[in-house]
C-alpha cells in the first residue's frame, strides 16, 4: 500500500536506468546509510560497552565479509566462474598491505589497503589465465591450485611476514588524521569508520560496473558463452577482468580483515581453504549474482553462530563452544541445501518476492 511505484513517471532514460528507480527504495537506502554512518556510531558513543562490542564483533566483520562476498560474487555469481580460492586472494591482500606499510610507514594506511588490492588483482589474473581453456568444475580445481600454492607461500616465504618468529603478521599502529586506526590502540569506532567508507565506496563501484557494459558482458559469458562471443565479447579479456576485479575486492577485504578487524595481527591459517568455503557459502545463501545478496549472505552466515552462542548462553544449557561451532557448520550446510531446493537464487530473491508482495499489499495479487 505504501510501497508502490504508481504515479512515479520517468521522463528520461537516465531516471529509468537508476539503480534504485523507485522513490521508496531510495528513501530506505538513505535511511539505512544514515543509520550505519550516524546511528550506529552515536549508539557506540552513548553506550561504549555494548556499542564497542557491537562494532567489533558484528558490524566490522560483517562489512568486511560482505566485501569479500561481493568480490567472489563478481566472479562466481556474475561471470559464472566457480572459485574455491577466495581465501587465498584475501591473504594476498593482507600480506601485501603488511609489506607495504612496513616498508613505507608514512603513507596513509587506507592507500595501502587499496593498493594491496592491486597486488591481489595481479595474482588473480595470473591464476585466471587457465580459464580460457578450462571450464566449469575443472576451473574450480585450478582455483584450488591458487589456494594451496598461495597458502604455502604465506607459510614458507618468511620475507612476507618480515621474519617474525610467530610466522604471523603483526599489525603496527597507523594513524589517519592523527587518530589511531590500526594496532592495539585504535578504537573500534575509528576502525569502523574506515571500513564503512571503503565498503560503501567499493559497493557503489561494483554496482556501477554491474549495471553497465562490463557487467552485461560478464553475465553474457555466464549465461551463454558462445553467443557472447558472437556478440563480439572476447571471452578471455572478459573472464580475466572478472578475475581481476574479484581478487581486487577479496584482497582489500583481506587487508581490512587483518588491519581493521583483528587489529593486532593474524596467522596465515586465517586464509585457508575454510575461509574460501565460508565466503562461498555466503554467496550461495545470499544469492548468486546479487549485490544485496552478498550482504544478506554475509549477515546470515557470519552472525548466525553469534546468535546461536547467545541463545546457548541465555538458555543456560551446558553447550560448549566447540559444539556450537559444529552446530554452525551443520546448519550452514543444511541452509545451503535448503535454499538451493526452495529458492536457488538465495535470500536476494526472497527479498525481491517480499518487495513484490509489499507492492500489492493488502491484496493477494
Amino acid at each position: 500500500m505504501f510501497y508502490r511505484e504508481t504515479g512515479q513517471y520517468k521522463t528520461t532514460y537516465a531516471a529509468d536506468m537508476a539503480v534504485f528507480p523507485i522513490l521508496q527504495d531510495r528513501i530506505a537506502l538513505g535511511l539505512m546509510l544514515l543509520a550505519v554512518a550516524v546511528g550506529v556510531p552515536l549508539f557506540a558513543m552513548l553506550f561504549p560497552a555494548t556499542g564497542n562490542y557491537f562494532l567489533q564483533v558484528i558490524m566490522i566483520p560483517f562489512l568486511i565479509f560482505a566485501l569479500a562476498a561481493i568480490g567472489l560474487n563478481i566472479l562466481t555469481g556474475y561471470t559464472g566462474l566457480m572459485s574455491l580460492g577466495s581465501g587465498a586472494f584475501m591473504g594476498v591482500g593482507a600480506f601485501a598491505c603488511y609489506k607495504l606499510t612496513t616498508i613505507f610507514p608514512d603513507v596513509p594506511i587506507v592507500i595501502w589497503v587499496v593498493v594491496s588490492g592491486v597486488f591481489s588483482c595481479l595474482v588473480g589474473v595470473l591464476f585466471g589465465l587457465p580459464s580460457l581453456r578450462i571450464k566449469g568444475f575443472y576451473l574450480a580445481v585450478a582455483t584450488l591450485a591458487a589456494q594451496f600454492f598461495l597458502q604455502w607461500c604465506f607459510v614458507r616465504i618468511p620475507w612476507l611476514f618480515n621474519y617474525n618468529a610467530s610466522g604471523a603478521i603483526e599489525v603496527p599502529e597507523r594513524t589517519l588524521f592523527g587518530l589511531a586506526v590500526t594496532g592495539a590502540n585504535a578504537t573500534p569506532l575509528a576502525r569502523y569508520f574506515v571500513v564503512l567508507a571503503v565498503v560503501a565506496g567499493m559497493t557503489w563501484v561494483a554496482s556501477n560496473l554491474i549495471h553497465g557494459r562490463i557487467g552485461r558482458s560478464w553475465m553474457a559469458v555466464r549465461d551463454m558463452d558462445i553467443a557472447a562471443q558472437l556478440m563480439g565479447i572476447q571471452l578471455l579479456p572478459a573472464k580475466l577482468l572478472a578475475f581481476a576485479v574479484s581478487s581486487f575486492y577479496c584482497g582489500v577485504a583481506g587487508a581490512m580483515m587483518v588491519f581493521f578487524w583483528y587489529a593486532t595481527g593474524a596467522e596465515p591459517e586465517v586464509f585457508s581453504i575454510r575461509q574460501s568455503f565460508f565466503v562461498l557459502s555466503m554467496i550461495i545463501i545470499g544469492g548468486l549474482g546479487s549485490l544485496v545478496g552478498s550482504f544478506f549472505g554475509a549477515a546470515l552466515i557470519y552472525i548466525m553462530p553469534i546468535v546461536l552462542g547467545a541463545i546457548a548462553n541465555w538458555s543456560g544449557a551446558p553447550i560448549s563452544a566447540a559444539t556450537i561451532e559444529h552446530l554452525r557448520v551443520m546448519l550452514t550446510g543444511a541452509l545451503i541445501i535448503f535454499f538451493l531446493i526452495v529458492e536457488p537464487h538465495g535470500l536476494a530473491r526472497l527479498w525481491q518476492i517480499a518487495k513484490q508482495k509489499l507492492r500489492i499489499w493488502p491484496f493477494p495479487y
Partner: protein, 324 residues
C-alpha cells in the same frame, strides 16, 4: 647456472646415485596414487550415474572412517563381543542410510536442476557431514583400527639395488583391495542389469525414466556404492595417518586426479591417481628441498593444470565438439 643445475641435473644425479631411494619413493608414490584413485573412483561413480559432481566424496570418506572408529571405540568400551566386525557392519548400514537420506532430501528435490546447483548442494552436504561427524564423534583425531579388521601390520624389507627398500604390508593390502574393488566395479558396470541401467541413467535421465528405470533406486545404489568405496578408502588412509577432518585436505587431491582422468572414466581415475601420486612424491623428494619443502600441498594441482592446458578434456575424455 647453479639454479638450472639444481633443477635439471642434480635431482637425476641423486636418482642415479641412490636407486634404492628412488624405488622407495616410487613405491610410496604409487600407493598414495592408488588411494587418490580410490577417492576419485567414488566421484566417477556418482558423476557417471547422476551427472552430479560430488564435492562431498572426500568428506564421505572421513565420515565413514570416523563412524567406524567411533562405533568400535564405543562398543569396545562397553564390552560388546567382536566389536570390529559389528562396527564394520553397522558402518556399512550407516552409509546406506546416508545414501537413502541424500537421495530423499537432496537429490530428489533438485532433480532436473542445472549441474552447478547440484554441485553446490553437495558443497552444502560437505558442511552437514563435517558438522555432524564432529558433533557425534568429537573433533580430536582418532586411531584407525587395523589389526582388528584383519589388516596386516609391519613391513617387508627387501634388499635391492644396494639398499633396503621397505614396503608396508598395509600398503600392499591397500593396493590389492583397490584392484579388487576396481575389478568388481568394472564387472558390475559392464555385465549386470543394474550396471546397464546405471549407464543409461548417466547418458540421459529422461530417456532412462521413459524405459522404466527408477532414478531414485539407481541413485541410492550409486551413492551407497560410493559410500562403500569411501569407507574402504577411509580405512586405508586412516591406517596411514590419524582419522580426523584434516583428511579432508587429502581428499581434495582427488580433484586433480579427476581432472587428469576425466570425470567419467574409471581407468582414467586410476591412471590419473598413479600419475599424481608418483609425480607428487618424486617432486617433493627431489625438488622439494629447493623450494623449502612442503610443496606436496600444491604440486598435484599444478601437475593437473599443466596436463589440462594441453588436453582440456582430460587424458581419457573425448574431444569436446561444441555445438549450437
Amino acid at each position: 647456472m647453479d639454479i638450472l643445475y639444481k633443477i635439471f641435473i642434480d635431482p637425476f644425479m641423486q636418482m642415479g646415485a641412490a636407486p634404492d631411494l628412488l624405488v622407495q619413493a616410487l613405491w610410496e608414490g604409487l600407493v598414495g596414487g592408488v588411494l587418490y584413485a580410490l577417492i576419485a573412483l567414488g566421484f566417477v561413480l556418482i558423476f557417471k550415474a547422476s551427472g552430479v559432481f560430488n564435492f562431498a566424496q572426500g568428506i564421505m570418506m572421513v565420515f565413514a572412517a570416523l563412524t567406524l572408529v567411533g562405533l568400535y571405540e564405543w562398543m569396545a568400551r562397553h564390552g560388546v563381543p567382536a566389536p570390529a566386525a559389528i562396527a564394520l557392519v553397522l558402518t556399512i548400514g550407516v552409509m546406506y542410510v546416508l545414501a537413502v537420506s541424500i537421495e530423499k532430501f537432496v537429490l530428489r528435490p533438485l532433480v532436473n536442476q542445472p549441474d552447478i546447483i547440484l554441485f553446490m548442494a553437495t558443497f552444502g552436504l560437505t558442511f552437514v557431514l563435517v558438522g555432524l561427524g564432529e558433533l557425534i564423534f568429537g573433533g580430536e583425531p582418532k586411531q584407525m583400527i587395523t589389526e582388528q579388521l584383519w589388516l596386516p601390520k609391519g613391513s617387508i624389507d627387501m634388499k635391492i639395488l644396494g639398499g633396503l627398500v621397505s614396503l608396508q604390508k598395509i600398503d600392499i593390502a591397500a593396493a590389492v583391495i583397490a584392484s579388487a574393488m576396481v575389478a568388481g566395479l568394472a564387472v558390475f558396470f559392464q555385465s549386470t542389469r543394474i550396471g546397464r541401467a546405471l549407464r543409461a541413467v548417466a547418458d540421459d535421465h529422461q530417456a532412462a525414466l521413459s524405459v522404466g528405470i527408477s532414478l531414485n533406486q539407481i541413485w541410492v545404489i550409486v551413492w551407497f556404492t560410493a559410500g562403500i568405496v569411501a569407507l574402504a578408502t577411509g580405512i586405508m588412509w586412516g591406517a596411514r595417518s590419524d582419522v580426523s577432518f584434516a583428511l579432508e585436505i587429502i581428499a581434495l587431491k582427488a580433484l586433480p586426479v579427476l581432472i587428469l582422468g576425466g570425470f567419467t572414466s574409471i581407468p582414467g581415475a586410476i591412471v590419473g591417481g598413479l600419475i599424481i601420486g608418483v609425480g607428487e612424491k618424486l617432486g617433493e623428494f627431489y625438488w622439494g628441498p629447493l623450494l623449502g619443502g612442503g610443496i606436496e600441498s600444491w604440486l598435484a594441482y599444478f601437475i593437473a593444470l599443466a596436463f589440462l592446458l594441453f588436453r582440456p578434456q582430460g587424458l581419457f575424455g573425448e574431444k569436446i565438439i561444441e555445438r549450437i
